[in-house]
Symmetry: C2
Subunit: 297 residues, 2 copies
């Protein structure tokens, strides 16, 4: 089960400009998860949402029972990337139908064993979480906006999930600690058994009672568009974990490597183009390559 | 054999200000190498160089036959670190006796099997390299200054060494390629069998015919002073490689992990304070920890 935003993105990189791309955390995370497992999407779009995007979701084999299509316009975001292809500036955000989003879970979704609460308002994440069985494994993503404007519900959410995923800058903002080990310790004290701090092109770090796992980023030949990489990482992670069926230090680490690999395909194209033609076989080949890059004997 | 600068550093971090610290690439690299092997230092200091620093070098077991002590003042550098403890600004550079440095190699140094040409003018690195036996394994470090002001001798040097080590920003400056894989490919075409691109707190990347090795940085609780981390990384690397006695994909990767580990001790203190009380046993303990952080099964 994955909840998040569905958006139409307009993106400017130093090299290209693209309009009305299929985007949003839910699109990236669900398609990434779909390589590993059947995934139920929970999101909202307007009646202007192109039918070809629904078709694409179907091609990925997603369960769309939780996708609301309502009168009005789909959420739109536009941004521009700096030369480093990392820092970006939001040009405009039109929430449209997303402004009144109340996630609705089809009954069968509630039985899901793995929940990814993508980056939406913490109140809505809490609402979805309340539908999950207590034995489900739950992962929440967040962003600076909620840290700054909705800290109280965010803290409540964090205390209830099994894993919190966030960027390094967000971990620093949330804890007031610059050092990532110190920030992770503070976050672990808030409740989750696992903290994953994402560092963009520099990979990610997993913190838990078992210690630290350094998740390498797969070095790509060219980054075309980094949008959605973090959501793809989270989606492939939860999908792989669901496929493994159990949560162990091994399955969590292996699934984080899968997250890293699928994210590397994501950034090589705009929108979901990197996911479209992807196969589990190609993912596994790159996973082997990544493992050879961290092998020391 | 390690050649480089010996300096007295004045350093300001967001938290502390320190004057006349023992520094310079040669100090960091030689002390780091000394945990693994007998190391011959080639450098220059003025007659104002405190005797206690010579004593410290001796405590590390360095061979100081190549250290010139000449009338005049020792090289001095001062800089200030930004809040992120990564970016720094040079406040002043007084070359003093370093301005007329001509490295002299004691005869026995020429027989060394492993050469680290620390960051000094490429002409001087070439001079030292000319004394090495052709079967020696040679590593050169460089910096933006030489890329901008001495590109011709630098290119000659690069064509002659086995390994080039440099920062990500320097690799980009030297090759005009932003993507690090592309930059490394361009650098490999210049001659070296190995390219190591250092990424500060994000570790390093090794590129060779055998592929890519992602060198993780050991996450420390607190960075007190990042000065000398790169030199320490290089010194521990060459020392470990010399100890292993042979150059293989395995010994190179293992030695890079040692470089990462010793560098992590370096940044936890000012000057060589992190090296002073360090033992090979403590290094090996942290190496095991680092390996557990990249283990996925």
């Amino acid at each position: 089960m994955v909840v998040g935003s569905v958006a139409l993105d307009s993106i400017e990189t130093p090299f290209q400009r693209k309009k009305d791309l299929l985007g949003g955390s839910c699109s990236y995370a669900c398609s990434a998860a779909s390589f590993f497992t059947r995934v139920g999407m929970v999101g909202i779009v307007g009646d202007d949402f192109p039918a070809r995007h629904i078709e694409l979701y179907n091609d990925f084999g997603m369960d769309l029972a939780g996708l609301q299509i309502v009168p009005g316009k789909t959420f739109r975001w536009s941004g521009v990337y700096e030369d480093d292809m990392i820092n970006r500036r939001t040009l405009s955000t039109e929430l449209n139908v997303f402004a009144s989003f109340l996630p609705e879970l089809p009954d069968e979704y509630s039985k899901a064993r793995f929940f990814l609460l993508g980056n939406i308002a913490p109140d809505l994440q809490l609402h979805v979480l309340s539908k999950a069985e207590t034995t489900a494994f739950t992962v929440a993503d967040t962003m600076d906006l909620w840290i700054n404007t909705a800290r109280k519900p965010l803290m409540k959410l964090i205390s209830k999930v099994n894993m919190l995923m966030l960027n390094d800058s967000e971990a620093r903002l949330l804890t007031g600690r610059h050092n990532l080990k110190a920030a992770a310790s503070a976050l672990l004290r808030m409740g989750p058994q696992y903290i994953v701090i994402k560092k963009g092109e520099h990979g990610a770090m997993l913190f838990s009672k078992a210690g630290i796992f350094l998740v390498p980023a797969f070095p790509v030949d060219e980054v075309v568009d980094p949008t959605g990489a973090g959501d793809t990482f989270a989606g492939a992670f939860i999908g792989s974990l669901a496929k493994s069926g159990s949560v162990s230090e091994h399955s969590v680490r292996e699934s984080l490597l899968y997250g890293s690999v699928v994210a590397s395909f994501c950034v090589q194209e705009f929108s979901l183009d990197g996911h479209k033609s992807l196969t589990l076989k190609a993912i596994n080949t790159r996973l082997s390559e990544l493992k050879s890059m961290i092998k020391h004997k």
